[in-house]
Each structure stands twice: as C-alpha cells, then as structure tokens.
Amino acid sequence: MTLHPKDRAIVEATQAGLPLVQAPFEVIAETLGMSEAELLERLARLKEQGVIRRIGAAPNHYRLGLSSNGMTVWDVDDAVVDELGERVGALPFVTHSYRRPRALPDWPYNLFAMVHGADRDEVHAKRADIADLLGDACRSSDILFSTRILKKTGMRLRRKER
C-alpha cells in the first residue's frame, strides 16, 4: 500500500506523538500547511483503512509497576486456534496476541500471548487463567520471561530520500 504524500507527511508529523494542548490537531495542521478540517478528514480515512488503530496514550508498563513480562506460548488445535485466540486477546491483561507458524520439532506453539504483571507470580497466575480458557484444545504451553532488553528502537517510518 502506498500512502498519499500528504498522509505520509501526517504520519511523519505525528509518529513521535501529538502535542498535549487543547487543540493538538490545529497545531499539527499548521506545521503541515493544511487546514485542521483536512487533517481531521485524512486522519479519519487513515483509521478506516486501518493504518491508524487508535489515537491515545501508550502506558509505560515498567513505570506503572508492571515490571515482569512473560511471553506465553501455546500449542492449540488448529481447528479452534483463531476462535480461542480472539478470546485470549480480549483478556484484560494480554497486551499482544498472535497466531504464528510452529517450528517443529523444537517449537510446537502456534499461539503467542504477551502478559505483563507486577512480578512473576502475577504473570504465572494470569497464565493459569489463559490455560483455563484454552482447556483441552491446548496440548502444551510454555512461558518465556524477558531477562534483558538487548535493543529497543522505535519503529519509525524512515524519511524517504529526496
């Protein structure tokens, strides 16, 4: 999908965040040299297209005391993995949930759900909730705690070479 140059400019102007003022869109529109009405229209269209998922706050899990994060992984019957995946994703403590291919024989898991908690015990308790939800459809599971952040860069749209 190719973005309209104006939409691309909107992405570039907002990916670091919106200014926290009463009229943030007016400020962005001004820097882009377009009317606020046009910006709001384009943002609405980008949302319809799924380019923008939502506009809001990204909480800092660590700062909020959720310092333990576990990647829970599950080997779920292919016939029901999508249906159950939706329900796992909807749990209030799951931050990401994906279906991914297995890498047999080492890796039998096809459902990934990221769980944050104050400590490992809390993450284990939440894992047990997911296990209850999956029931017999789940053949095996594991949990991988992160022990170190080795690299973290924002995924930024790179500026096109001009």
Binding site: L18, Q22, I55, A57, A58, R99, W107, L144, I149, L150
Partner: protein
C-alpha cells in the same frame, strides 16, 4: 519526577488509552466526564508523559499498513557466545528490538524491513555471520486486544 500516582492520575491513564475523538477539542469530553477544565486534563496528561508513566501520546500506526515488513525471530545462542552473537545481530539496522528470554531459544528479536524478501535475506545473513539458525515466526493473524493498564 513524581513517584506517586493519585487516584485521578490512574483514572486518567486508563481513559487516555481510549481512542481520542477526531475533533478540534479532543480533550473536552474527558474534561466533562472528569469534572475538570480542559486545560487541567491537558496539563495532567503532559505531566504523566513527562514523568514517564506514558511513553507516548498519539496515533498507533499499523506498521504493516505503512508498507513495511516485520517478523519475530528467535535464536538459540550458546551462553559463552552470547555477547559476540548479540553484537553481530544488533549491528543490523533491521533489528528493531531484541530481548533476552529464559529459554533454550534465548534471543528474540523483531526484523523490520521494506519488504518480505528483505526479511529472509537479513535472516540468512545473520545465519551466515553467526553460524546459528534463525527461526522465523511471522505473524499469521493478530487478535484484537482489549488490554488496558489497570492503573
């Protein structure tokens, strides 16, 4: 940096995670619901961001809809080679983030490239440079997330 959150702060952190309306004064509704002035909401939000409780306030983009390719990758790195392999892996600009995890597969990173072909190519180069296998776990389906930090 403030280290205590009031009840109001916590309520606001939750509310600010909801989708902001696309209007000229997007904080007006929150202000009304909270019985605050708009400027108070904006000031509180800014303080929460400046104090690091919010990493960011703005649009969440679907990275793939923007035209890139992404893939979760994992490697089983022998402990005595960990730092050497890490240096080689992280040297690639395509490695967006990388986590150590307590598992035989102990290095988990995301490749972010322009195209799907670049994913396979980058993984192949890392395999060549390290002599270790790179397992690819591309996203086949993403499930809707109802997550809110219970602040």
């Amino acid at each position: 940096m403030s280290d205590t959150l009031s009840k109001l702060d916590r309520r606001l952190i939750n509310r600010l995670q909801d989708d902001l309306p696309l209007t000229s004064r997007p904080f007006a509704e929150i202000a009304e619901d909270f019985g605050l002035e708009e400027q108070e909401v904006v000031d509180l939000a800014r303080r929460l961001r400046d104090d690091g409780y919010l990493t960011r306030f703005g649009p969440f983009f679907d990275a793939e809809a923007l035209g890139g390719a992404f893939c979760l990758c994992a490697m089983a790195v022998p402990e005595d080679r960990f730092e050497e392999v890490l240096t080689k892996v992280n040297a690639h600009a395509e490695v967006a983030h990388n986590y150590e995890r307590d598992h035989r597969l102990n290095m988990w990173f995301v490749l972010a490239t322009e195209s799907q072909k670049d994913i396979a190519d980058t993984a192949a180069v890392i395999e060549q440079e390290t002599g270790l296998q790179v397992l690819l776990f591309p996203k086949e389906r993403e499930f809707f997330i109802g997550f809110r930090v219970n602040a």
